[in-house]
């Protein structure tokens, strides 16, 4: 996870304060609203998913000088310690061509939006992503074949986790020593994960959690406190000698003025910098979140926005936009998802996670070369 995401997460933490000076005119949630909020926070996670989607993403481009430097560094890996003076003329020519080719490709990959078509299948700890990426002016459709496949699974012989990459552009399968990043598209079926966790901390009671296993269940007392005061708190912090010893989170719920009959606005955060997290939810089901924005408490700058629309009957949105900003409010990246097909909790055959290289593929096992 990138540091930016850490900041987003911690902004949720910092949305809470040690002290609380007083109350203002915030809509205190009703008991029913608190129940709906808790239901959304403790919503049953998706156990398996089979989803195909398009994703268009735009990022702040990497400076070309930096790309060139990177291309030169890669070419120089081939020199194995030799200086440029020691190269034969044809080697210098080759080095220059490699630098230019990589530089051109990498600059090209900075032309946004990049378009991706992915099919993601997740079942338990197994994950398979089939993917093809193209540039902004290249066609991408249902018939466009996937080029890459990334798999995390268990080795049938050793039981150890193993990851593969089927690289269609090289007719090669790389077996690598570390896992591919988890695909998190399933999170759009509920309120943002960090927000859900925060709510569990504030509205739940710890049933013997450890860093390896969190186990919070809804706490009726905390929920009643929220419905009464508009505030939720967690236990005193062990060992902390800061401004106070209690973390307080304010939660307000009011009708969405743009859809007063169908949507509610849930505002959360540090009472002294309220709100830091804003959700616009379906009034009947708070896990159906149309809009999310997270602010940095101290500056009130928005650090992330998420928009979800076209929910299907299972509560999965088919149009999603995510935008992230840095701590100064500058644009960082934007992703737009269009779901082609999604199946929640399907039975996914184990074979699709097994290593079955297509005919003619070379298998390169890199695990023994882990540095």
């Amino acid at each position: 996870m990138k540091r930016l995401n850490i900041l987003v997460l911690l902004s949720v933490v910092l949305a809470c304060s040690f002290t609380y000076a007083g109350s203002e005119n915030i809509a205190i949630p009703t008991e029913e609203q608190v129940q709906k909020l808790a239901a959304a926070a403790w919503k049953e996670p998706i156990k398996s998913i089979d989803i195909t989607f398009y994703k268009d993403y735009t990022k702040v481009p990497e400076p070309v000088e930096q790309i060139r430097k990177r291309a030169e560094e890669f070419a120089d890996r081939e020199l194995k310690g030799r200086s440029l003076d020691e190269l034969k003329p044809y080697e210098i020519e080759r080095r220059n061509k490699i630098i230019e080719a990589n530089f051109k490709n990498w600059v090209e990959s900075q032309k946004f939006p990049r378009k991706v078509k992915s099919r993601v299948r997740i079942s338990g700890d197994n994950q398979r992503i089939d993917m093809v990426k193209v540039g902004p002016n290249e066609p991408l459709g249902l018939d466009t074949p996937f080029v890459h496949t990334f798999v995390n699974t268990k080795d049938a012989n050793t039981g150890d986790f193993v990851s593969y990459h089927y690289a269609g552009d090289m007719n090669t399968v790389f077996v690598v020593s570390t896992k591919w990043a988890k695909e998190t598209i399933a999170q759009f079926a509920g309120i943002p994960f960090a927000t859900a966790l925060t709510l569990r901390f504030f509205l739940g009671i710890d049933q013997g959690s450890t860093p390896k296993s969190l186990n919070y269940i809804p706490d009726p007392n905390k929920m009643a406190e929220l419905a009464k005061t508009g505030l939720a708190s967690i236990e005193p912090i062990r060992g902390a000698k800061a401004k106070g010893n209690k973390i307080v989170n304010r939660i307000g719920i009011r009708p969405d003025p743009n859809a007063p009959d169908t949507s509610d606005i849930v505002e959360m955060g540090d009472p002294n910098h309220f709100p830091t997290t804003v959700l616009i939810c379906d009034r009947k089901d708070y896990s159906r979140v149309y809009h999310t924005e997270v602010h940095i408490p101290t500056t009130n700058k928005i650090i992330s926005i998420r928009e979800c629309g076209d929910f299907d009957s299972n509560g999965f949105p088919h149009n999603i936009t995510e935008i992230k900003y840095d701590k100064d409010g500058n644009f960082v990246e934007k992703s737009v998802y269009r779901i082609i097909k999604v199946e929640l909790n399907p039975s996914i055959p184990a074979e699709i996670f097994e290593l079955h290289p297509p005919e003619g593929y070379k298998v390169v096992d890199q695990r023994s070369k882990k540095s």
Binding site: M1, L7, L14, N105, F161, F174, A181, P211, R238, S371
Partner: protein, 227 residues
């Protein structure tokens, strides 16, 4: 018609007698007959090529002689043909560099991971010594992929630990500083934050990256020359 044909035949015989017979008589002055690039002078076969030349296909050749053909200057001989270069192949070993751009042995740091399969690269070795290739179709090709090696932050653990020891988190992230490393957030450098309860802050350390570093999928590929 018969008369004309007879006259032509006689004329041919006369010409052969006058010109060809004396020439045969002179050449036969060297016995055995002279070899290629030799001339029979005064009954002796004399090498006619200059120093540094070799005899190639019956002619003096200043360059490489290849299967009886005198190659052009700078050309080599390979597989019986004159060619511009003689190549051999070198197998470039595959690589897998985890977190290649940082010097951490933990694999937790952010950086590039590179996967490349082995491939054959052409080497220009000059004159062939056997086993070489005249034609080496060197082409640019994709030889590897680059992935971003990043920390495997566990969101739930991170949040829980941050809540449990929120003072440390605030000290590190409150002003939204960009700490150079996780250690800056740990109790060892933030003792003042947590007073005597360092074990609480040490607890945060457990929340930092899991043993498995994740590779974020990138679409960057890198190229090289292959035969």
């Amino acid at each position: 018609m018969k008369t004309k044909s007879l006259v032509f035949t006689l004329a041919c015989l006369l010409l052969f007698t006058v010109f060809a017979v004396p020439a045969i008589a002179t050449s036969s002055g060297c016995y055995p007959p002279c070899g290629p690039c030799e001339e029979c002078i005064d009954g002796h076969c004399v090498w006619v090529c200059s120093a540094g030349q070799n005899c190639c296909g019956g002619s003096c050749c200043s360059n490489i002689c290849c299967n009886g053909v005198c190659c052009a200057a700078g050309q080599n001989c390979c597989n019986g043909s004159c060619c511009d270069k003689v190549w051999t192949k070198e197998t470039v070993a595959g690589i897998a560099e985890t977190c290649g751009s940082c010097n951490s042995s933990t694999g937790y740091c952010a950086g590039m991971i590179i996967d490349r399969q082995g491939y054959e690269k052409c080497l220009n070795v000059g004159v062939g010594q056997g086993g070489e290739h005249c034609q080496c179709n060197e082409t640019m090709q994709v030889v590897g992929h680059i992935y971003l090696c990043t920390e495997n932050w566990d969101v739930s653990k991170l949040l829980w630990c941050a809540f449990k020891c929120v003072c440390c988190a605030i000290q590190c992230f409150g002003p939204y500083a960009d700490p150079a490393s996780c250690s800056e957030c740990l109790c060892s450098t933030q003792a003042d934050c947590c007073g005597d309860e360092c074990e609480v802050c040490d607890f945060v350390e457990e929340c930092y990256p899991n043993p498995d570093a994740l590779n974020e999928i990138q679409d960057l590929v890198f190229t090289g020359f292959g035969c």
